[in-house]
Amino acid sequence: MTVGTYDRVPALETGGHAAPAASQLTRLWESKPGISGWLSTVDHKELGKRYLATAFIFLALGGIEALMMRLQLAQPNQHLLTPEQYNQLFSMHGITMIFLYAQPILSGFSVYLFPLILGTRDMAFPRMNAFSYWVYLAAGLFMYASFLVGAAPNDGWFNYVPFALKPYNPGPNMDFYALGMILLGISTTAGAANFLVTMLRTRAAGMSINRLPILTWGTTTTSVGILFSMPAVSLAFFMLWLDRQFGTHFFDSTARGQPLLWQHLFWMFAHPWVYIIVLPAMGIVSDALPIFCRRPLVGYTVVVLATIATMVMGFGVWLHHMFATGLPFLALSFFSGASFVITIPSAVAVFAWIATIWTGRPVITTAFLFFAGFISMFVIGGVSGVMTASVPADRQLTDTYFVVAHIHYVLIGINLFPVMGGLYVWFPKMTGRMLNERLGRWNFWMVFIGFNLAFLPMHWTGLAGMPRRIYTYPDGMGWGTVNMVTTVGSFVLALGVLLLLINVAISRRHGAVAGPNPWDGPTLEWTTPSPPPPYNFATMPAVASRHPLWEDRLEEGMGKSSLQRGMVLANGKEMLAVTPLDGLPDAILKMPEDSYSPLVATILMTAGFTGLLLHWWWFAGACVFLLLACLVVWLWPERTLGQIAGARHV
């Protein structure tokens, strides 16, 4: 893309956040106070924090479900829970952690941080950003409403047919799950498209793609992954719902439907999903670990390439979830080989982090401890993954507690550890106050010890032959002691997580005041005040290197970044658009005001899905009609957005 002649030469100002235009920008970008502003805001910082808070609430709910199961499994032959209660709990635990915590929490970080680290004022599509959040919340509430009628999903997050079909599952349990997942898929897809366009088009001038922080690479890569994988699972759940409600036969084996079709569609989505919920977290570590090692990340380019390679290969390994389904020899061999090879890009990242520690001067903070601990947890989750990549070994390991241990090293080790570390790093930016470091050390060690106490022995539980998803087990199998250890560990882990919540609750009011850059970080978010003003940057920064705030010390890049002097862009809500590869200034974007449309659209859509759940077909139809009307209002051309001819120079 080439840069043509500009229609307008924007004013330049000096002074960064003290620039004269700051008060005018505040008026332009600030949400209204009170409830109306809260419901209509499109500010990415507000939405990012909401994502984080909501995902943490789901983490807590999923954690409570896990603790109830751990009590049941602490000893052989226990009867604290009925089989049905246990089966609903383990299903909702998986659904909650995988869909309602692990991905949304990373969206939270990215929604909050994208505009700040990219040096712009908001996401590319602010109203769609609000829409993504509201629909996520609605989908979570929709699925959790199943508990109110005592009919939560009870077939695990993998939801295999035919057990999920009507003859074996006549209640509404599976309808909650199927419709809820389609709803959530809309949120995730909208979010992914938004990240992708934001990364490609709304960056600081000069931020060519080889200067992007790794977190943006991680999130952008997984956004592409979401756009390719989400259709498979939305389609699968829609077909499941049709099978259940209208007697179609996609999966119904009694009418020559194919139960294995479900598994293919599900894992075609769900294996990439595993990378979707870890790659941005790995990006958090790749960006934040170097801050505490006081040097740039080792091997930026190979780490970025490894991130992309992992996502691409992640689409070619789904069959390793199906090694015991009787598929042909050749297919198994191919997918087994691919599952081994996908380890190599992960090894790149591991050695990059280790090298960053060895060639840096690590400053031990709570955040650093989480990142350093994460590297070991990552390797444990990785090598146990390699074991399940082997067809012969996997046919023993699969559906035992070994795989449960593996997935928890992946999800807690590679997702929760970076998330907690990331919170210690960016909490000062979000609130203006530091999290307490002393409480932080307790937080880290309780989580680290509790987690490993719970899940390291669980590998043994699996090797001792304990199958997954059993609500109880007999005595004399050699599983009792190790299950008790896991239960104790899981409570220690839960207390550790509780300490984080306590730390957040205390520190947001009483923590030490953080300046703009408490860790002396290198990227653009650290140039803004903490918390940042509604418009993020008074003057649009222009960058000349990968580490604008370190460049004078690293002698990196060509020329100097301009962080204090830049375009003001204050003729209404405006942002700079750049060319996708080189980051050359390309256009001035007119950004939308706060709007109720995303919330109203979400409410109408959720009401429509509720109509489908309850078979209120007319009601659902009315919701669709109103939703279309709402979209017309939302998308109605506006003069301030430059969508009407002759309105270009407002």
Binding site: F292, F340, W358, V363, A393, R468
Partner: protein, 344 residues
């Protein structure tokens, strides 16, 4: 009851637990670990690969964790706070990545070769199996059918598989309802039972004994109590067992004959027993029930006490299972029990 400690077992000194077990476990000689195999050449190959990958994994974890730990200890800053430690770029460090990834790739390639070799080796049995056993999964029990060229030798049983030691046996597996997975860890790998599909696998027992298996794919409410016992026997003993299974039990005892009538009346709609008019297909075949070691799909030891308790209230031990509570009177229950007691 004897228990082995976890570390002891990890050292490979896994002791056999001979006929131990608490009230709810059915009898098996070995627990369900697969780090020690009794499964002939196939079992040895799988177990060797599993151990190999496990040891490799532990080595990798120890090395990388040590690198992190030592790196942090040696290189840690004394500045106390991030902003007080100066930023510098000493060396590019990328040789770490090249060397680390280079070594990983070589090791991984070796593991892949071993893996591929093992996949090929266990794909088909060394010789064509003489015996084929059909296993059909039900919520939450196993239907077992012995095939033979000779129609009169075909028979059905449930929840306990006998097979001869030292020869490969073909298993054809399918399901009557949802997906299950057939798995006897000490003998070999698992295979899923999928609707509209007959999967074939083979297993070989290397040593006589009773091995516990369990359904490994979540199949609903009582997935936890869908166990199976695999009894590996010397070929002669196996032949004798098969012949015995084909022989109907007959008794001149009047109480038994009365019990048979009660059984046909109350139980025959779902269960069958060869040589009687009980021919139901919904529940497990109960021919020679008392020659089996367990009740309720390896849920309870098969004693007359547990049997009475099971018939009187099948929902107590295995709530949600598909056998209804029959509300039998005391004499009816005693009569049925008297009949079943002789089904040895």
């Amino acid at each position: 009851m004897r228990r082995h400690s976890v570390p002891m077992a990890m050292l490979g000194r896994l002791t056999l637990i001979a006929g131990c077990c608490g009230p709810a476990a059915a009898r098996a000689d070995v627990p369900m670990t697969y780090l020690r195999t009794f499964g002939g050449m196939k079992g040895l190959q799988i177990t060797a690969l599993t151990w190999g990958l496990l040891i490799l994994s532990i080595v990798v974890v120890v090395i990388t964790s040590a690198l992190v730990l030592v790196g942090v200890l040696i290189r840690r800053s004394r500045a106390g706070a991030a902003e007080r430690e100066p930023v510098s770029q000493t060396g590019s460090g990328v040789q770490w990545i090249y060397i680390g990834v280079g070594i990983s790739t070589v090791v991984l390639a070796a593991a892949m070769v071993w893996n591929g070799y093992t996949i090929a080796a266990i794909n088909s049995p060394p010789r064509d199996p003489r015996l084929t056993i059909e296993v059909r999964g039900h919520q939450w029990w196993w239907e077992v059918r012995y095939l033979s060229e000779d129609q009169s030798r075909i028979f059905e049983t449930a929840n306990e598989i006998h097979m001869p030691v030292g020869e490969p046996v073909r298993f054809k597996v399918s399901t009557a309802d949802v997906i299950h997975s057939f798995w006897v860890p000490a003998i070999g790998d698992k295979i899923d039972l999928i609707p509209n599909q007959t999967n074939t696998t083979w297993l070989e027992a290397g040593r006589a004994g009773v091995y516990r298996g369990q359904c490994a794919e979540y199949c609903g409410g009582q997935h936890a109590h869908m166990g199976i016992l695999l009894v590996a026997q010397e070929p002669a003993d196996f032949e004798a067992w098969w012949r015995h299974q084909l022989t109907p039990v007959s008794s001149a005892d009047l109480a038994v004959q009365e019990g048979q009538q009660q059984f046909v009346l109350h139980c025959g709609a779902c269960h069958s027993i060869r040589g009687t008019r009980a021919g139901g297909r919904l529940g497990p075949d109960l021919s020679h029930l008392m020659s089996r070691r367990s009740l309720g799909a390896a849920t309870l030891p098969n004693t007359i006490g547990h049997l009475s308790g099971w018939i009187a209230d099948p929902q107590r031990v295995k709530p949600g299972n598909l056998m209804p509570t029959l509300d039998l009177s005391g004499p009816e229950l005693a009569s049925i029990r008297a009949f079943l007691e002789v089904q040895k």
